[in-house]
């Protein structure tokens, strides 16, 4: 234990507190919980993408020994209430997403019955005995099919598959495009992809008959949101529902931030059966029921002058909302991400969110941003090609400059505030990236290699990421009766190292060594209000909340100690766990002693004069608006034109997330996000066929990247602190992901430039590269 109070833990790359238990097999994930007498649940899921459910015969399943109960949607009619979209729009045509719909199914994987049994093995046996009589209906397997005139409707009786049209406007893009000296159009498609946390979703619940309280363990990223939803659906008081996100959750990446039917059904069934019930989604289910994202088509037009300066951007987007609208956060973020780090005087973005008969979509690491960046950054490269300019130069000419902040883009962000970049230095990010790449030399080397027949390409992508969203996040700090500082967060972690990071922040604000501070998260009974971990928001919301609550706690501790030591608070400082007068350990009170006085007290005895009872503080931090992180990526790739094989030779990331609390953890977030981005760029594709049947429902068909696919990354940070919070922090979890598909696709198209092959789709796979080369060859042939 250090004898000197830490000076600054913010910025220190210290080891994580979580690691010892995780490295020894003593993590506490949901499926590890001891729940004596717990039953196992399994869901029967629709095998049709769109069908009416005429009848369900579960008699045989109920008779199977070991089966405790089988419920269909109709059996649980009382909880068949719509799971509301998280982000709404007044014009949204909404179809109720029911926990377990009794009448009709709208995607393969939608739950229609639940078996509760003594073991998961038996529960799965019983699923095979349930007979469902479906009336198959035509299904919508893509946004193109959704928008095809006269095509099938994802919901019976609908007049359109368009859920809502969102648009953004600044200036007059139509007029500017008409008048511009040059315009280019492009059409880009990004396919569906998933979160694929290594731990799947899971819910366990127990109804306490004595207190009539429902305890729900849930791998959710948003425990308070889940509680609020359950309270509405069950008609129970929030205080009678306790949601606990287990101490260890095996990754989230977005899908676990959503609210699902299973989360409604499991606790209710536990209540009905008066037995604990546990459901752990298996990977098969995860493939067809956890929300996905990404699928968008962009038809983008850019107008620019002779120097490549942007005059206008007009982008028409088709967004795959899936079978139901779980929220409009993703399409909304897409529309505001298009202009990126550039001066764009005239902007028009129009997005059609379309219903399809596929798993509903919602945020997955990156959340609507990678698609917008893909469209915009690809067009910047096309402008450079058209004008025969260097793509780095075109970017430089268009970047918003460091002295222009706060910068108003002229459109609106998804948090409802005007899209206003708070801080940043985009030119420094780009030039830093180019410097590390030794850009001029690399371009020369590329040309030289091209002469020798090697297809080398360089791709750049610059982006701005809205993050740190509101409305607020909270923290409570208490001096425990054992003399330790307990920081309680509403947010639930999924492996980001909250126990370490928030102790670091609290340590700085308290002026106390981290050894005396510990952190708990994700339990609605420990802190009344919270929002959840999503949109790279926690550091920028919970961070300041912890910081402020810790500052208050420091004052309280100093006040208490100064009264007991008979001095002014300013004379107190901490040495170890001692509050010392004038730095003298002989004249000090330990934290335990302070707790004894102010918290424990002496039974019936008046507190010392001036001492305030109860050393507890709390703070809820509500940012004025979103913060904006930013970054620049550069990729150098080699393409084998024969096989389409792609080798990433170098990858450089310049990243700015404001103040860095723990550089090691931020690096981990960025590089981890980058691996996901590499997956989106070259591997991951949640393919569906035209009947909306999933085609990639196992890891044999859905390619997650392993260590051999992820290249080494050269990462650097610049720090432009956000003025929107006292720590100056922004989000870090998605910046590695967002521009990676764009940078890789730009690099591949650059490599193929002598062949004129076009890359218009992510992921870029070897087969698509070779097919694109063939297409280019056909086009080039004289008529």
């Amino acid at each position: 234990m250090s004898e000197v109070a830490a000076k600054s833990m913010i910025g220190a790359g210290i080891e994580r507190r979580e690691d010892d238990r995780l490295l020894t097999g003593h993590g506490r994930y949901l499926d590890d919980l001891e729940l004596p007498g717990a039953l196992s649940a399994a869901f029967l899921r629709s095998t049709y993408a769109h069908a009416n459910v005429l009848s369900i015969d579960a008699d045989a399943a109920r008779e199977l020994p070991g089966v405790v109960a089988v419920f269909t949607g109709e059996d649980l009619a009382e909880i068949q209430k719509p799971l509301a979209p998280k982000v709404m729009h007044p014009q949204l045509i909404d179809y109720p997403r029911l926990p377990m719909p009794p009448k009709a199914v709208h995607y393969v994987g939608e739950p229609i019955a639940i078996v509760v049994a003594e073991s998961r093995y038996v529960a799965e046996d019983a699923l095979e005995l349930i007979e469902v009589d479906y009336e198959e209906l035509p299904a919508v397997g893509s946004t193109a099919a959704a928008l095809r005139p006269g095509g099938p409707m994802a919901h019976e009786g609908a007049e359109t598959n368009v859920a809502v049209k969102l648009s953004q406007k600044a200036g007059d893009a139509d007029k500017a495009i008409r008048a511009a000296p040059h315009t280019l159009t492009g059409e880009f498609f990004v396919t569906r992809g998933g979160g694929h946390s290594m731990e799947t979703r899971a819910v366990a619940a127990r109804f306490d008959l004595t207190t009539e309280q429902l305890i729900v363990w849930d791998t959710t990223q948003s425990p308070h949101y889940a509680r609020q939803q359950l309270s509405v659906i069950y008609g129970m008081a929030e205080d009678d529902i306790r949601i606990i996100a287990p101490p260890d959750v095996g990754g989230g990446f977005g899908p676990k931030a959503q609210f699902y039917g299973e989360e409604v059904v499991i606790p209710w069934v536990a209540k009905l059966l008066e037995r604990p019930v546990k459901w752990v989604e298996d990977r098969s289910e995860n493939f067809v029921s956890a929300m996905m994202e990404r699928s968008q088509t962009h038809r983008i037009e850019v107008a620019f002058d002779d120097d490549g300066r942007l005059i206008a951007v007009r982008d028409f987007v088709e967004h795959d909302q899936g079978a139901y609208c779980a929220g409009l956060q993703v399409p909304s973020i897409t529309t505001s991400t298009v202009p990126g780090p550039y001066h764009v005087p005239n902007i028009y973005v129009e997005l059609l969110a379309c219903y399809t008969n596929m798993v509903p979509t919602s945020s997955v690491r990156g959340a609507g941003r990678p698609q917008a960046v893909f469209a915009m950054e690809r067009m910047i490269d096309r402008i450079a090609e058209y004008l025969d300019l260097d793509p780095a130069l075109v970017r430089e000419r268009n970047l918003i400059q460091a002295d222009e902040f706060p910068y108003e883009v002229g459109i609106t962000f998804r948090d409802g505030s005007p899209l206003t970049y708070d801080s940043g230095d985009f030119p420094a990010l780009l030039s830093g990236t180019l410097e590390r790449l030794e850009y001029a030399r690399t371009r020369a080397w590329q040309a030289e290699q091209r002469e020798r027949g090697r297809m080398i390409g360089i791709g750049l992508a610059v982006y701005v990421e809205g993050c740190g969203l509101g409305p607020y996040e909270g923290a409570k700090i208490r001096l425990t009766n054992k003399g330790r500082i307990l920081v309680t967060l509403a947010a639930a972690g999924q492996g980001q190292g909250y126990e370490t990071v928030y102790a670091q922040i609290a340590s700085d604000a308290l002026g106390l060594n981290m050894d005396h501070i510990y952190v708990t998260t994700g339990d609605t009974s420990k802190i009344p209000f919270g929002q959840g971990t999503f949109a790279s928001r926690i550091t920028a919301t919970a961070g300041p909340a912890v910081f402020q609550a810790a500052q208050q706690m420091r004052e309280r501790l100093l006040d208490t100690a100064s009264i007991l030591l008979g001095c002014h608070p300013a004379e107190i400082s901490f040495i170890g766990d001692r509050a010392c007068r004038d730095g003298d350990v002989e004249k000090s009170k330990t934290l335990l002693e302070l707790a004894q006085v102010a918290n424990v007290g002496k039974h019936g005895i008046t507190l010392p004069k001036g001492v305030q009872a109860g050393l507890e503080t709390s703070s809820y931090f509500a940012p004025a608006r979103a913060a904006y992180a930013s970054g620049a990526h550069a990729a150098v790739v080699e393409v084998d034109p024969d096989t389409g094989g792609i080798t990433v030779l170098r990858y450089i990331i310049g990243h700015d997330c404001g103040t860095v609390i723990n550089p090691r953890l931020v690096d981990g977030q960025v590089i981890g996000g980058f691996a996901h981005g590499i997956g989106n760029a070259m591997y991951e594709e949640a393919a569906y066929d035209s009947d909306a049947q999933p085609q990639a429902a196992s890891y044999l068909d859905y390619s997650l990247v392993s260590a051999t696919e992820v290249p080494s990354v050269e990462l650097f940070h610049i720090q432009t602190p956000s003025p929107l919070n006292p720590l100056g922090v922004k989000g870090a979890g998605e910046g590695g992901t967002i521009p990676a598909p764009a940078a890789i696709a730009n690099a591949i198209e650059d490599a193929l430039r002598p062949l004129g092959a076009r890359i218009n789709r992510a992921p870029v796979t070897p087969a698509r590269i070779v097919d694109a080369i063939q297409d280019a060859a056909v086009v080039d042939q004289p008529a």
Binding site: M198, D248, S698, Y699, A707
Partner: protein
């Protein structure tokens, strides 16, 4: 013409297996997987199930010295075998050199895949040193991590290799 054969009565199988050095005897059902046996029956919950089809590697354990997917073996198959799981890696509460290398290099975030990586690497490092980054990536390629991007893992392998071969 034959009636379909179905399980008339499954009496279960008595198995005796050494797990992390101690011998355990259990009656197991025919179809119980090794992973579920370790997790549910022995309550060694450090072995995780990530995909149950042999791709993600989270359930990797060591059986008779070889790293294997415990989701692709039956409990009854390890009768008489020596099984090692993540819980057996460090005695006396001290992290072993491999575990320390993981911690030092930030080779884990959510920790769910970590036990599988540790067991894969434990078996691999017993066979000899892992010399360079390419070899490290190859050894790691049978396990999936969704959080770290593998950079820390690669460094941890190289560090641990140096440490254990020293």
């Amino acid at each position: 013409m034959r009636e379909p054969k179905v399980n008339i009565e499954a009496p279960g199988h008595l198995i005796s297996v050494t797990v992390n050095g101690s011998t355990r005897q259990h009656v197991v059902d025919d179809r119980l997987t090794l992973a579920d046996f370790l997790r549910e029956r022995l309550r060694l919950t450090g072995t995780h199930l990530g995909c149950e089809h042999g791709v993600c590697g989270a359930c990797t354990v060591i059986v008779d010295g070889a790293s294997v997917r415990s989701c692709l073996m039956l409990a009854v198959q390890v009768d008489g075998c020596d099984v090692e799981t993540v819980e057996g890696l460090s005695g006396e509460g001290e992290l072993n050199p491999l575990q320390q290398a993981f911690k030092k290099n930030y080779a884990l975030q959510c920790g769910f895949c970590t036990p599988g990586f540790l067991m894969t690497l434990t078996a691999a490092l017993r066979e000899g040193p892992i010399k360079d980054e390419a070899e490290a990536r190859d050894v790691l390629s049978g396990n999936i991590c969704r959080c770290t991007g593998y950079t820390g893992l690669v460094q941890a392998v190289l560090d641990a290799s140096k440490e254990t071969q020293a």
